[in-house]
């Protein structure tokens, strides 16, 4: 849940990177953490699994500093993508203000993408949120593989599977090389700030 403390002039938002296992959620955060200036990003909290899957979650706090007298902070979370970690995913999603859905472009992961997306919808609903309402950015990761012999999904197929009705903003990405990573981050951050301000400040007017 976003925190807007007018007395202390603080705005805190929570963005969750959601998606199937091995899709590149942690890689997104790792890229941001390693490529960004030290002054902006905080310490990344992660359970080191030597390239293996996320066991619990990753957390990367970002600090925008003082904006118009407000201390603005954004916390980036990832969820463990594997199906068995359903409870953890739901827990991490609690109080979410914005979601990046990282879809895997590998053709073999097509079903997993859809399954994870439906899982996201279901979990949001259980928290009284709607996927149509919450800020959402879709990231189609591993697009570099589209130029290789590895069978990949086309952007049209990904759109048809995940974004047919929502028409959310999408980015093609190769998280390992940072392509599309910051574009995704900027977009979801702006959308989330707008959403939070609208929801919490405008509602009071």
């Amino acid at each position: 849940m976003a925190l807007i403390d007018l007395s202390r002039k603080e705005v805190h938002c929570k963005i969750v990177y959601y998606g199937p296992g091995r899709g590149g959620k942690t890689t997104n955060l790792l890229y941001i953490y390693n490529a960004m200036n030290n002054g902006v990003r905080g310490k990344m909290l992660t359970i080191e699994t030597k390239g293996d899957r996320t066991l619990f979650f990753d957390l990367l706090p970002l600090n925008l500093g003082k904006v118009n007298g407000f201390d603005v902070r954004i916390q980036l979370y990832t969820v463990p993508g594997q199906t068995i970690y359903e409870a953890t995913r739901k827990l991490v999603l609690k109080g979410v203000d914005g979601v990046v859905f990282v879809a895997d472009s590998l053709r073999v992961r097509r079903e997993k993408n859809i399954e994870s997306f439906n899982d996201l919808k279901k979990n949001l609903t259980e928290y009284g949120l709607s996927i149509e309402e919450i800020p959402l950015v879709l990231q189609y990761n591993k697009r570099d593989l589209a130029n290789s012999a590895i069978p990949t999904l086309s952007v049209d197929e990904l759109e048809s599977d995940l974004n047919n009705e929502l028409k959310a903003i999408t980015f093609e990405a190769t998280a390992t090389k940072g392509i599309g990573v910051f574009e995704t981050l900027k977009e979801i951050s702006k959308n989330t700030i707008r959403y939070v301000v609208k929801k919490h400040l405008l509602a009071d007017i």
């Binding site: 490529a35 904006v67 118009n68 697009r143 290789s148």
Partner: protein, 498 residues
């Protein structure tokens, strides 16, 4: 503050936050993340690469109202098209090795992630592409890899464990040759190892476990090929380990510790670890030994004794092997000789049971003599004294069924304590003068009436004693194979009496 003012303030705030996001959320440096290990490496700025331009175009947001990540224009699009057509035309004849290798690397990664017929098919297809400039010994690799893939396709469940490492070896050898031309000798080694592993898979004659183990060994060889040589690591490690464990250094090399610094550090740690393990093994063996000794000779605990004895000997044997492997002197743990269980080591003649003193496992020395013409042995730790016995003394003792130690005195003023050893020697003379020991016979007390004996032997241990009369003077000798004798102990005598 009125509503309009408040709305305006919120709008300004939102715009300022968005502006801050735009200015702050940018990469300060270019990095790449290894998709397998998550290892981060910094990428040095390179001159403009056409392929990158092509990809950047594709990575632009697909929704028109999204902020554009990259700019595009028609000139670059033309360039992309030209590049694609170039690649296509070259593939028809022969693909450049680097491009071909990149595809194989991708196939390998996909295959490691998931094994499907489709992936295998694509992999095989790429391997079959004609490649320029591969020498004959390297050129055999793609063929072998294709064959290995066909085995993988036919028996996915059973063969994946051994085929994948072999394929990886093949890939590593190709990488060595194509991208590391300065190390042709090392590439040759890598190729040899890969060909060997792949041939094993293709021949299919080997047991899968054996094949896996050999593949692993070969993989280590390939890794070592690109790393400092075994002798390099050995030299560095020897300095650190102070030359104590020369044979250990070779093992480190075979462990595939690639960077020299890592090799050195790990070498020291490995040596320390092994020495630590050896110490733990020694201490464990030492702890077992007294318990084993305690159980020895205890009736009803033979199985437990056997178990501990086996455990100790196994540990000792493993410790010995390890010591030999690392070039450290092996010092066996000393086990009390009495720890040898009579029933196991000295298949003791427990008075009345046929048994023989074992040669290798028994005590180092025994008192040997004859009793009724039969060669008998006594444990030195039980023998307190032996003495020449007159027929009068024998008769008297046999009549009473006991032997008074006072009879040992040759003169009224001589001291008995000087004539005895072992536990009896610790008693004072007065106590010894009053002490009488039961007289026992060889096959039991009923046969102790023979008056032919000339020597007496007194046994005493743990407040239990006996005197036997024997044919000749007991001699302390080391038991030998060709002089087996029947062992008489206090234990066997008491069992016999019972």
């Amino acid at each position: 503050m009125d509503q309009k003012e408040k709305l305006n303030e919120i709008r300004v705030f939102t715009e300022e936050v968005e502006g801050t996001i735009d200015s702050l959320f940018n990469p300060a440096k270019k990095i790449e993340i290894d998709p397998v290990t998550n290892e981060v490496r910094e990428v040095m700025p390179e001159p403009v690469d056409e392929e990158a331009v092509e990809f950047e175009l594709e990575s632009a947001p697909s929704v028109s109202d999204a902020p554009s990540a990259e700019e595009s224009d028609s000139v670059e699009l033309d360039l992309t098209l030209e590049l694609e057509s170039e690649v296509d035309s070259s593939t028809e004849t022969t693909a450049p090795p680097e491009e071909w290798l990149r595809k194989i690397q991708e196939h390998m990664m996909t295959l490691e992630w998931e094994v499907t017929p489709e992936i295998i098919e694509n992999f095989s297809h790429t391997l079959k592409e004609p490649i320029t400039g591969l020498p004959e010994d390297i050129a055999v690799l793609p063929d072998l890899m294709v064959q290995a893939l066909s085995i993988l396709r036919s028996e996915t469940d059973n063969s994946a464990g051994s085929v994948l490492p072999a394929l990886k070896l093949g890939l590593q050898a190709l990488e060595k040759y194509i991208s590391d031309t300065d190390h042709e000798t090392k590439a040759a080694h890598a190729t040899e190892a890969a060909v060997k592993a792949l041939k094993k898979i293709v021949s299919g004659g080997q047991d899968s476990r054996e094949s896996e183990s050999e593949t692993t060994q070969a993989q280590e060889t390939v890794q070592t090929a690109g790393a400092p040589s075994a002798s390099d690591i050995q030299d560095h490690t020897a300095d650190l380990v102070a030359g104590d464990t020369p044979s250990l250094d070779l093992d480190e090399a075979s462990l595939g510790l690639t960077p020299a610094s890592e090799g050195m550090g790990a070498g020291t740690t490995l040596a320390e670890d092994i020495m630590e393990h050896l110490e733990v093994l020694r201490k464990s063996t030492e702890k077992i030994a007294p318990v084993e000794a305690l159980l020895a000779g205890r009736e009803g605990l033979e199985k437990l004794y056997k178990l501990l004895h086996g455990l100790r000997t196994d540990l000792e044997s493993e410790r010995k092997k390890l010591c030999q492997a690392v070039g450290v002197d092996f010092v066996p743990v000393q086990v009390e000789k009495s720890a040898v269980h009579p029933q196991q080591s000295a298949p003791a003649k427990a008075a009345g049971h046929e048994s023989h003193v074992p040669v290798n496992e028994g005590p180092e020395q025994l008192f040997i003599t004859h009793c009724d013409g039969v060669k008998v042995a006594f444990l030195p730790q039980e023998v307190c004294c032996h003495f020449k016995a007159s027929s009068k003394m024998i008769k008297k003792s046999l009549k009473n069924g006991s032997f008074a130690l006072a009879q040992l005195k040759k003169w009224p003023w001589s001291k008995i304590s000087k004539l005895v050893s072992g536990e009896l020697a610790s008693l004072d003379d007065k106590a010894l003068q009053k002490l009488t020991l039961p007289v026992k016979g060889f096959q039991g007390s009923e046969k102790a009436s023979s008056g032919e004996k000339r020597w007496g032997i007194a046994l005493f241990k743990n407040n239990r004693g006996a005197v036997l009369f024997v044919d000749d003077e007991p001699q302390l000798v080391a038991p030998s194979k060709d002089s087996e004798s029947e062992l008489i102990t206090l234990e066997s005598l008491s069992r016999s009496a019972a």
